[in-house]
């Protein structure tokens, strides 16, 4: 009897925050009433190991059943029976303190299920955790026959990309043995990390990261650009190690870094275990539970799920695979039961291997899987954002190469289109098109990465033998077979997919499963409600293209032409046009420099006259080009008691007529002497990161909280201002900002000029021919 064999024992579980680990802990607590469980948990950056136990393990819906059974006693029962050991198998010595080490070595059984299961983990991470983790754990347990029984969870795919039978035997005893030396692999992986890091710091690479950051964020100011460039460098290093991991694995005959590091991890463990009692359990692809703790329970969004959801959303037009090939899927509760059976039976003389897989006992053919999925999603379609059902694509089982080529081509085409759109000066809804293009490209890239990562799992032709597992099954009595079922023959694939797994995946993915238009407030309405909530403190507004469809150049042109004759106007136009390219380039580089250069145009202008003309311009240009919705928004904020602030690089005399609209205005100011304007700024203009500082200073002085504040701006050069507040709003965003806003879920407003506004081709003042008006 499994329950009796394990009763009173202390059993440790590593990787308890993972899918399999959580299920193990739950099953032990629920079905082996008298055992104690010790979980080895890595302390997080923000949470201690104990806190992670509560939040990430015990609060998982896996425990709902146990919670219901125990009622009020749940907390007492779990705190009595579960102990936490702080540790990290990715570190030398497993990062244990003395107490932890004592607790761990005092266990009867240690189930090692901690692993980096991501197929695209960076090589060095996978090596540290998957290759070295088991050996480190073994060393910590002490390598004597009296040490705890170690059950190491590996994967059936250590067999690699090979055809034919894969027996339940140690790797060294199988035809799949590789002669690669794990020590050399570890050293190489560590070297690869430092090489990639060094490479990423070469001047031309650093310049490239900076350039890419600028291309993404525009003139967002030095601190933001630096932060972004550094992140790009990190990502680049990681990407290098990911692709290195994949190629290295494939060069040795494994589909990916996961299987490769797991395989060498098994070998290292055999070398390092000494006389430690050891059993290796190799599950195939673990998916949602067949019955325990409830049908369909799953944790995390794993390997098959994103592929399934992409397929159901019609995004994955093709997926390679061999139609008659076997997809080896095994429900998590079968794996748990098998491990507990192994634990109950105790270690053999020599390390034993059990494979938990369905492929030979109850095979699921790839074409069967696809047709089951197709029929289910045809009956239970997902719905697009307009509430229309999505028709799933028909897969024709093409070769992997063909699909990859198609997807690569699609991705490249979309990237080119995206680059083109990005280069155009688009705003608002049109910029959204470009940001949607980016989304499409990312979808194509994601589809490609699924094909690259998981393609081989639909093409596997290895047949995982389960003879030993079945003889273990034979040895169980009827009660155990009822309670701890792990015979793959019980799986009815149609039932499992249609009634258990697919419904569970769809629920997990939180996709639309109901038809019809949205009820309740739309996303835009919710966003609007959030920014206008009464508890907001401050609303800061940019001016140009946020509240008015105009800019400093237009207002200058208007003021400058107010008193020019026809001929002078033409000369003015020509001269200005000549300057445009240079000015545009400068503006793209640095808004502050541009303003500084541009405002020199005002040098020597008669101050009083410009001031008087600016009042005329207020109606003729500023209001005529204003966004009425924007102006109403300023007023809405004010009427709710929020402080309103205009932050603009425009000069004071131009924005003076707008003063009554806002509580305060921060703008550029030009110096004056003897009634003449000097073309130089009194203070640095509020642009880029200076805006964030201005806002911070303003909020501090006025006792307002930035996290309760709203900022409205239109361009990525306003990012510092937008990032400084709790509620950023992108108004008519240009392509870069549109992309950023969409990614970060920022509220977006598309404000337009009034349909009846007067329009003029050139921003020139109506000519004063007859007299000067005072």
């Amino acid at each position: 009897m499994i329950g009796e064999a394990l009763a009173g024992k202390r059993i440790a579980v590593t990787g308890a925050t993972g899918f399999l680990g959580t299920a193990l802990v739950e099953r032990l607590l629920r079905s082996v009433p008298d055992c104690e469980v010790a979980v080895l948990v890595r302390p997080g950056r923000r949470a201690t190991a104990a806190r992670r136990l509560q939040r990430e393990i015990l609060r998982n819906d896996c425990f709902d059943r146990l919670r219901a059974e125990l009622g009020d006693r749940f907390d007492a029962e779990t705190s009595r029976r579960v102990q936490v050991i702080e540790g990290d198998v990715g570190q030398e010595g497993v990062g244990l303190d003395d107490d932890g080490a004592a607790l761990l070595t005092g266990c009867d059984v240690v189930i090692h299920s901690a692993a980096t299961v991501s197929f695209d983990a960076p090589l060095d991470t996978a090596v540290e955790v998957n290759m070295l983790g088991p050996s480190r754990l073994a060393e910590a347990l002490g390598t004597t026959p009296s040490s705890p029984h170690l059950i190491a969870v590996s994967t059936a795919y250590v067999a690699g990309s090979r055809r034919g039978d894969a027996p339940e035997a140690l790797l060294t005893d199988t035809p799949f043995a590789t002669h690669a030396d794990w020590r050399a692999e570890v050293a190489a992986a560590r070297r690869a990390r430092s090489d990639a890091d060094a490479d990423s710091r070469r001047p031309e690479r650093l310049a490239r990261f900076t350039r890419d950051a600028r291309a993404e964020l525009g003139a967002a100011g030095a601190p933001l650009l630096a932060e972004r460039a550094e992140r790009l460098r990190d990502e680049w290093v990681k990407e290098r190690l990911v692709s290195l991991g994949r190629t290295r694995a494939q060069s040795l005959g494994w589909p990916d870094a996961y299987a490769y590091t797991k395989a060498l991890g098994e070998r290292a463990l055999l070398e390092n275990r000494g006389d430690l009692p050891l059993t290796i359990v190799r599950p195939s692809i673990i998916e949602s539970a067949l019955a325990e703790p409830r049908p369909g329970w799953i944790r995390g969004f794993r390997m098959a799920e994103p592929v399934i959801i992409s397929y159901a959303r019609g995004l994955l037009g093709q997926f390679p695979g061999v139609p008659e090939g076997v997809v080896d899927v095994i429900p998590v509760d079968l794996v748990v039961a098998a491990i507990l059976a192994v634990a109950a039976e105790g270690p053999a003389e020599q390390p034993a291997v059990y494979q938990v897989a369905s492929g030979t006992r109850q095979p699921l053919r790839y074409d069967n899987l696809v047709s089951l999925a197709e029929s289910w999603f045809t009956e239970h379609p997902l719905y697009d954002s307009r509430g229309q059902p999505i028709v799933v694509p028909e897969w024709s089982f093409p070769g992997r190469g063909k699909v990859q080529r198609q997807l690569t081509r699609a991705g490249k085409g979309l990237q080119a289109a995206e680059r083109l759109m990005g280069a155009l000066p688009l705003r608002g809804r049109r910029a959204e098109v470009s940001s949607r293009l980016e989304e499409r490209r990312q979808q194509a890239e994601r589809a490609l990465s699924y094909v690259e990562l998981y393609g081989s799992y639909a093409e596997t032709e290895a047949r995982f033998q389960v003879d030993r597992l079945l003889s273990l099954w034979e040895r169980l009595d009827d009660d155990d077979r009822q309670t701890f079922c792990f015979d793959p023959a019980v799986i009815d694939w149609a039932h499992y997919l249609h009634d258990v797994h697919l419904p569970s995946v769809v629920t997990q993915a939180r996709v639309r499963t109901t038809p019809g238009g949205r009820t309740g407030p739309t996303r835009a309405e919710r966003g609007r409600r959030a920014v206008l909530a009464p508890e907001r403190h401050l609303a800061a507004f940019d001016l140009e293209n946020t509240l008015i469809a105009s800019n400093v150049v237009e207002s200058y042109a208007w003021l400058a032409t107010r008193r020019l004759s026809e001929g002078d106007r033409l000369r003015f136009t020509l001269r200005t046009l000549r300057e445009v390219p240079g000015m545009l380039a400068l503006d793209r580089r640095d808004r502050g420099d541009f303003l500084r250069a541009f405002y020199r145009h005002y040098d020597e202008a008669p101050a009083e006259q410009v001031r008087a003309d600016a009042w005329e311009m207020f109606s003729a240009l500023i209001l005529a080009k204003s966004f009425p919705d924007g102006i109403r928004r300023v007023r809405d904020h004010r009427s709710r008691g929020h402080r309103t602030l205009l932050i603009t690089g425009a000069i004071d005399l131009v924005v003076e007529p707008l003063r009554p609209l806002f509580d305060d205005i921060v703008c550029a100011r030009l110096a004056e002497r003897d009634g003449r304007i000097l073309g130089e700024l009194v203070d640095p203009p509020p642009t880029g990161e200076a805006r964030a500082m201005v806002m911070a200073a303003y909020a501090e002085a006025e006792g307002l909280a930035l996290e309760e504040s709203v900022a409205y701006a239109d361009s990525s050069s306003d990012l510092p201002m937008l990032e400084a507040v709790g509620h950023p709003v992108a108004v008519n965003p240009e392509a870069k900002l549109a992309t950023i806003a969409r990614k970060r879920g920022w509220h977006v407003e598309n404000w337009t000029r009034a349909a009846g506004a007067p329009r003029h081709l050139l921003p020139f003042a109506p000519r004063l021919t007859r007299s000067d008006v005072s």
Binding site: L623, R632, R635, A754, G756, A757, R770, V773, S774
Partner: protein, 529 residues
């Protein structure tokens, strides 16, 4: 041949299609047989020498008034107030009759040695005019002589130092008018009476007043008790203005009133067909109609708007009268009625009208939906004496594109009124009670009214009140060819064509309704028996 009076045509099988205005355009529609079409009288013959007529009027005043020269003396304060750009429609060709009158008055003032003279554009809560617009009204000579010295002003009802409260009328109404006018020895008010509502005591009591004063008669109750506000003797609007006017006089403000009337000659030669009866169209009229409507089809909306806005009417002066306010107004109203009155027998179930591109408040800008409501239900509906053209519970069908378009410079508060008030309610009383004060006292609107070229914050409310009587009276309002969303926002029903609209109207007024079409502009006043 003397001009023919107005005329009611009964449509029969041989009647040609009727021209129906539709914003910046018009179309020919066949009205059902048996429908009536009310045509305005033809343009009266103009005065041969308007300048001589002006001098004559100033020297031979009506009522209890001395001739103007006798009222002028050296050292006095003289204020000349004049109607703003809302009159006449379309703006008249130069020289504007106001220019002629003002020049004549200034001549007499100069002769009398008056040198404290200020001109005030009587804006009430209308928008400030631009330099070009002012020049058009007063002429370059007057503009260049006064404007550079700050002596050509525009009434600012929100200038705390520019207004003077003259106390309350017997009915408890605040009387607050322009301080310069109130403290002058003589106010000369130069009017153009386009419709019978204009002129009389309304000139000073409204044109030079503030919100505080105006709210006593520009409100829903007054409008619902004016049947109509175009008929002075049945208009609560006028009763209130008359009380205020008499109170102003009693407060010692001397007003010398000048009212001019114009004939119906509304459109220039190339648009002559607009003021002719369709069955009398000559080959030239037909060609003109074809040319204009074909080219409009190809013209972008915005360009069409600026072409129409540039129309200058050939309006000619038919009368000038000066002197004591009430006597002057009575005489001027008679002249107006001669030009505009049409006898109509009995009310109709369905009244149809085509709305043109222009109303008093969108000179040089777009006619927004709120103004569409005001022109149809405020102005044209109320052009009656006796009974409304349409019976109680009847249907009004208006043809206008009703674009969702606003001028953000001229009509900023209209945009917010349309976006914030109308979605909540279209009931004038509720609108007045819940929203008027906030808009009227909003500092941003006040700022735009005073420093920009914006109508006052409360102005869209007045537009809505102007239609309050019609809203109360009518069973349905249907707009043909309008922006559906905008029409619904107004609380009206959109229809794609006149035929559909008539079908919809039958749901309200019953089968086989009587139909009357108001063929205006040119403007007409229906005497409904």
């Amino acid at each position: 041949m003397s001009p023919r009076p107005g005329f009611v045509l009964e449509v029969d099988r041989s009647t040609p299609a009727t021209l129906i205005w539709h914003g910046e355009g018009f179309r020919l529609e066949r009205l059902p047989v048996g429908s009536r079409v009310v045509y305005p009288p033809e343009a009266l013959s103009p005065l041969e020498d308007p300048d001589a007529a002006i001098r004559h009027a100033l020297l031979h005043p009506l009522g209890d008034s001395e001739p103007l020269p006798a009222l002028l003396r050296p050292g006095m304060r003289l204020t000349i107030a004049f109607d703003d750009i809302s009159l006449p429609l379309p703006p008249m060709r130069s020289p504007d009759v106001r220019q002629r009158v003002i020049e004549a008055v200034l001549d007499m003032a100069a002769t009398a040695g008056v040198d404290d003279v200020v001109l005030v554009a009587a804006l009430a809560l209308h928008r400030r005019m631009t330099e070009d617009e002012l020049r058009h009204i007063v002429g370059d000579r007057v503009y260049d002589a006064f404007a550079p010295h700050g002596l050509l002003t525009q009434h600012d009802a929100e200038d705390p130092d520019g207004m003077l409260h003259l106390g309350l009328t017997d009915a408890g109404e605040d009387v607050e008018i322009n301080r310069r006018a109130a403290t002058s020895d003589l106010v000369v008010y130069v009017n153009i009476d386009l419709v019978p509502m204009d002129g009389g005591h309304k000139s000073v009591a409204t044109g030079l007043a503030s919100y505080r004063s105006l709210r006593h008669h520009h409100n829903v109750r007054t409008m619902q008790h004016s049947r109509s506000f175009m008929d002075q003797h049945r208009s609560e609007l006028h009763s209130s203005n008359w009380r205020m006017g008499r109170h102003i006089a009693a407060s010692g403000v001397k007003v010398f009133q000048i009212e001019t009337t114009l004939n119906n000659d509304t459109f220039p030669d190339q648009f002559r067909f607009l003021q002719r009866r369709e069955w009398e169209w000559s080959v030239r009229d037909r060609a003109g109609f074809l040319a204009v409507s074909k080219s409009l089809e190809r013209t972008p909306e915005r360009l069409a708007r600026s072409i129409f806005q540039s129309i200058r009417a050939p309006h000619a002066v038919t009368s000038v009268q000066a002197g004591e306010v009430e006597a002057v107004h009575t005489r001027a109203a008679e002249h107006l009625h001669t030009q505009q009155s049409v006898e109509v027998a009995g009310q109709t179930d369905v009244l149809t009208m085509g709305l043109p591109y222009l109303c008093p408040y969108n000179v040089n800008s777009v006619m927004n939906p709120v103004l569409v409501m005001c022109l149809g239900l405020g102005y044209l509906f109320n052009m009656y004496r006796g009974k409304p053209l349409v019976r109680p519970g009847g249907a009004l069908i208006m043809s206008h594109p009703t674009p969702w378009a606003f001028d953000p410079v001229h009509h900023p508060s209209y945009i917010d009124f349309f976006e914030q008030v109308l979605p909540e309610t279209t009931d004038p009383l509720e609108i007045e009670a819940k929203y008027e004060e906030a808009f009227a006292t909003d500092p941003w609107y006040v700022h735009l009214y005073r420093t920009g070229h914006a109508y006052h914050g409360v102005h869209p409310f007045y537009m809505w009140y102007w239609g309050a009587h019609a809203l109360q009276h009518l069973g349905a309002v249907i707009v043909v060819g309008g922006d559906r969303r905008a029409v619904r926002r107004l609380g009206f029903k959109p229809a794609s064509g006149l035929g559909d609209a008539l079908e919809m109207a039958e749901d309200v007024v019953g089968a086989d309704p009587s139909i009357t079409h108001l063929h205006a502009p040119p403007l007409l006043m229906a005497n409904v028996s």
